[in-house]
């Protein structure tokens, strides 16, 4: 297994108390595999990824427990300088907003070649040549002419390509993409997703795709982990989950999105709001919004039940949910 996250817990100290952002998350990714982590804002999907990358702001953040095994090593036990070597060369991250992730006063060529001069000890000239090569690889037209340009001179789609190039520069074995196409237009989104999937295949990388978009997940993921209030509520191969969800939250999400290929009956709407992480409801965190909630849901935290091999659901009534 390339990456294994075990019982990860992350909390943030705030003025109003401790916010429990991640409460015991388990997931794993293999080389060449795509895991989609699906969730709404505040579900803990990005915080988990930041903990894996080691870029959490600490403090106020704190890893309260768990292990992050990357190629067998527990990253949480590494010293910062060892961690730094892993970051960038062995795992890399692509962020949602390319414009604010790139340095506006350095040319894209400088930013790309920095990867090689810092991590690989190459000269500036060699780094520059590598930068052009990378830009070609992510199909930026006229790479040689554009290598000296600044981020603002590129369009949104092109900037996201540069982010991808930067993540791929040292050929890492794991890529974490946090909403990589959310800020892009549909036609450009398709281009970028295609490119990412192709490069992943070519380099046999593991990919963790963090998103709220059920369409994007269906398009590229092998397996999917659905998060709610800092926990994984359902985990399954992608085909199974869309065919028959085993958790009421997943089911609600699937029924609440309008479909391009269907004309509108009234949409199912999950009632209420996602919980405040400072006051997560006792028992199952989803119980106040759940149409199936019973007494046990309000008092006991449901563990992850095995629904099938490779498939888990954190619902006491997963059988009923699965059946209809």
């Amino acid at each position: 297994m390339l990456l294994e996250v075990r019982d990860l817990q992350v909390e943030f100290k705030t003025r109003d108390g401790v916010a429990k952002a991640v409460n015991g998350v388990n997931y794993s990714v293999d080389a060449g595999e795509t895991l989609a982590v699906l969730g709404e804002s505040g579900s803990g999907k990005s915080v988990t990824a930041q903990a894996v990358m080691g870029i959490l702001d600490m403090p106020p953040g704190r890893i309260a427990g768990g292990e992050i095994l990357f190629q067998g090593r527990d990253l949480l036990k590494l010293k910062e300088d060892e961690r730094r070597k892993v970051r960038g060369s062995e795992m890399a991250m692509i962020f949602q907003d390319a414009l604010s992730s790139l340095n506006p006063v350095l040319s894209v060529g400088d930013q790309l070649s920095e990867m090689f001069t810092v991590h690989r000890g190459m000269s500036r000239k060699e780094g520059r040549a590598k930068a052009v090569e990378l830009m070609d690889r992510v199909r930026i037209p006229a790479a040689k002419e554009r290598v000296g340009q600044y981020p603002h001179q590129f369009s949104g789609g092109m900037r996201q390509r540069i982010m991808i190039a930067m993540a791929l520069a040292l050929e890492p074995s794991l890529i974490i993409a946090d909403e990589p196409t959310t800020a892009l237009d549909v036609t450009v989104q398709a281009q970028v997703m295609d490119l990412l999937a192709e490069l992943q295949r070519e380099l046999n990388m593991g990919l963790i795709l963090i998103t709220h978009d059920l369409g994007v997940v269906a398009d590229v993921a092998d397996k999917i982990a659905v998060m709610y209030a800092g926990r994984i509520v359902e985990q399954a191969p992608v085909h199974d989950i869309y065919k028959a969800p085993a958790h009421p939250y997943t089911k609600g999400l699937l029924e609440s999105i309008p479909r391009l290929d269907q004309k509108g009956r009234e949409l199912y709407a999950i009632k209420g709001l996602p919980p405040n992480l400072m006051h997560i409801p006792p028992g199952c965190a989803f119980n106040p919004r759940c149409p199936m909630a019973r007494d046990v849901c309000r008092s006991e935290v449901p563990p992850l039940f095995d629904v099938a091999p490779d498939r888990q659901s954190a619902c006491f009534f997963w059988k009923e949910t699965l059946d209809g």
Binding site: D185, T187, L214, G215, A218, D219, P258, L260, I270, P274
Partner: protein, 344 residues
Amino acid sequence: MAEAILEVRDLVKHYPLTQGILFKKQIGAVKAVDGVSFDLAAGETLGIVGESGCGKSTVAKMLVNLERPTAGQIKYKGEDITTMSGRALKAVRRNIQMVFQDPYTSLNPRMTVGDIIGEPYEIHPEVAPKGDRRRKVQDLLDVVGLNPEYINRYPHQFSGGQRQRIGIARGLALQPEIIVADEPVSALDVSVQAQVVNLLDRLQSEFSLSYVFIAHDLSIVRHISDRVGVMYLGRVVEIGRDEEIYDHPTHPYTQALLSAVPLPDPSARKHRERIILTGDVPSPANPPSGCTFRTRCWKAQERCAQEVPLLAVPAEFRLTEGPAHHPSACHFAEEKRVVPTESG
């Protein structure tokens, strides 16, 4: 079609590009909207879709008179509102209200919810006399599904979805006939989007509203709209009833756009043809000659560079009765199905 409540004809908005400080001279223009025409019937929802920079929000601003068009007409019940001013304009504005995209920046953080929703009555006191306002605001809160007791709270005490409900209540305050909604749900979480979409649906039948619904999300537009117009670089390239656009598109841009939308159905992955466009949308300051889509179109030929295609029913479909019979601005329009039917 029922009688048109709004007729938009050849609407144009150019923003001048100037050079020099003291002696400004115009060196060009950003052609944000470049000849848009459509009708809105009473009680219907017209969806407008397009990518960023296509001019859809500029159209919205002109409809509510926040921007003055460079040319063209917007007729509300037969009268051109673009040339109106003073009292006449004020009366029309009451009937065309707007709901904005971002519920965080479109509500004043220093005003209570009651003041925000009641503010339109300051400008139009004839709708609600002073003593009656508090009750009216509470009614509105109830209508949009918020607790009427929240009237003295401030926007920061609400979640995104609740704030958008406040924005909608403000839009309804003056009992308008038309609501222009610019990306009203795109800032919301998935599970909350459905609540707001259903609310908009319910309000439409309750108050017989007409909607102009602007969004980039094609699935939501299909869900809510009776008719849909697709915009590209300041122009409407195709317009028609929802099944005409989604199931029988004839313009290559519409086809590409529809085929690029990821479907929440992994089994559609294999048997779905995707048209992946190359390149980016050109700058509206310097749009291509002829058909503006030709630089990204796989069908483009000589003729596309020279002749601007008009938005009309294409010649090959003019005699047929079928769903391909709708306006499409392409010299080489042909029907192509890109959205699989009912989960393929």
